[in-house]
Amino acid sequence: MTRLTRIGGPAGFVVLVAAVLLAPLVFSHYRTYQLAFVAVYLIALVGLNILTGYTGQISLGHGAFMGVGAYTTTILVVDHGWRDLWTIPVAGVVAGLIGLAFGLPATRFAGPYLALATFAIPLSFIGILKRFPHFTGGNIGKSLPQLHAELGVQANPSLWFYAVTWTVALVMFPLAYLVVRGRFGRSLRAVRDSEIASTANGVSTAAVKAAAFGVSAFFCGVAGALYAIGITYVNPDTFPIDLSILLLVGIVLGGAGSLGGMLFGALFVEFIRISWGPALLGVFSSVHHINKNAPGSGLVVYGVVLLLVLYAAPSGAAGLARRATGAATRFRRGKDASLSDPSLV
């Protein structure tokens, strides 16, 4: 590690905290509400990145773990009268345990087969939700109480939600850093880089992969709990397979194996749907007659964006930033040391 990366992590984090504190002063309540969802996606992406970026296992099912978290929160609040804030850790633990239970057998798969098995999770999740309507609300789903400030705070609900999500995100972010940094993080990367070599060196690949699966599901469960509190309803269509794919697109765009890059990924995931996607389509429609609101057009946009990123910048936004800082370091010290370090935040 270069000196740059050592101070880069905490310094970047301080800048992030400052930006989070300042944003509500600059933006409207509506934008603040949207930015709160950036925090939600940030938590999910950081978690999924532990599995995909650091351990090298693709999952097409983590949207469903967000769903598990969201349903846990909803059922506890609506049917058992819990206060919504206290359900957040419970939602994380429930999702994490289910993730671990799935991960234990599924991580026997090498590489891409795991991804195909995880493809079944969101589809199965929807089926299970519809099968047990007395518990989950079936097709109609369940509604949470309206968004409101709690703990005696008098604040605009959007602002309150923003404060809650970013507080949780700013706790989870360093937590992810601790997970990927130490001995455990080293074994994650060893599994990613060579399963055979890491087994030969005494790393239990199956256990490491299953643990990574559980941890990432925990993060997604927490994100899902916040998501449910924010949108105040859940039904089987809230967590479609598209959400899981979108999370994966966010990872690739932000840069697999980089925590800082996930911020860019989260911004992308939140804003592609509401503004960037239609804007991109608008560019095309000025050339051609294309209906911007046509069904499926959004999917085509993020598929094409994903492909372009894979060709042009396979290591995502973080890779581009790293290349820039790498060039700067090279310029200063005449060698290039930070390029190969994936733990750069």
Partner: protein, 294 residues
Amino acid sequence: MQQFFQQLVAGCADGAIFGSLALALVLIYKATEVINFAQGEMAMFTTYICWALITHHGFSYWPAFFLTIVIAFVGGVALQRTVIRPLERASVLTVVMATIALLVILNGLAAWIWSPQLQFFPSPFPTSSWVIAGVHISKQDAGTVGVTLACVLVLWLFFRFTKLGLAMRAGALNPNAARLLGVRTSWLLALGWGFAAALGSVSGMMVAPTVFLTPNMMQAVLIYAFAAAVLGGLESPVGAVVGGLALGVMLDMLGTYVHPVTSELRLPVALGILLVVLLVKPAGIFGRVVVRRV
């Protein structure tokens, strides 16, 4: 007992469809070592093409059927050459992500071009059925099984008795040695994609009359196909078909005799079977345990 045989027949028909898509998965995996996530969506998309040929361009069923297979083959080769080949030297993760991008794009395009509404897709087989010892065997189910078996037979003949088939097997077994001996392995990969797309289009056209044509119709079928392939052993073509039939029958039996298992739980049950197979016999029924070396 009569009900039992009735469900056995229905299960075989479902299983034949799972088996044919599983075969496509296994085929492309054997040839390229890459799992194509867009496999199901390619099948869906080509089925839409067949539907458009029939309803908008006045084709009758069988010409449209064979024309679609040709279009699928060409489309598969073209996708490999344009989208996947530039990533030849990239990591497996990147290639898999590219196939996921294809999945998303094809799914979106189908909804965009043909609207996401349910469409009725015609079946080439009559709706009547034969009655043998009180068991109704619908001609449609029999036709599905027949078409699938014919595909398997054609593929087996191709791989076993043609020079190109031999080259493809060689390319999959040892790409470097094959290349040294003058086999153009890069084009073989494209051919593998073409065959898988053609096979996928057949399973799409066979499944569409029963599930109706929608952009999402193949997502669940892809999971069943994968579970079938795992059950049979991922690298065995025979296993893929046997696994498909076994899974189809198993799901139908569970749905009939175990009442808590309703249609919503078919997919979770398939996922459960998948996980149990992995725990008990990870190599599948026909698979061999592979020794990996550094």
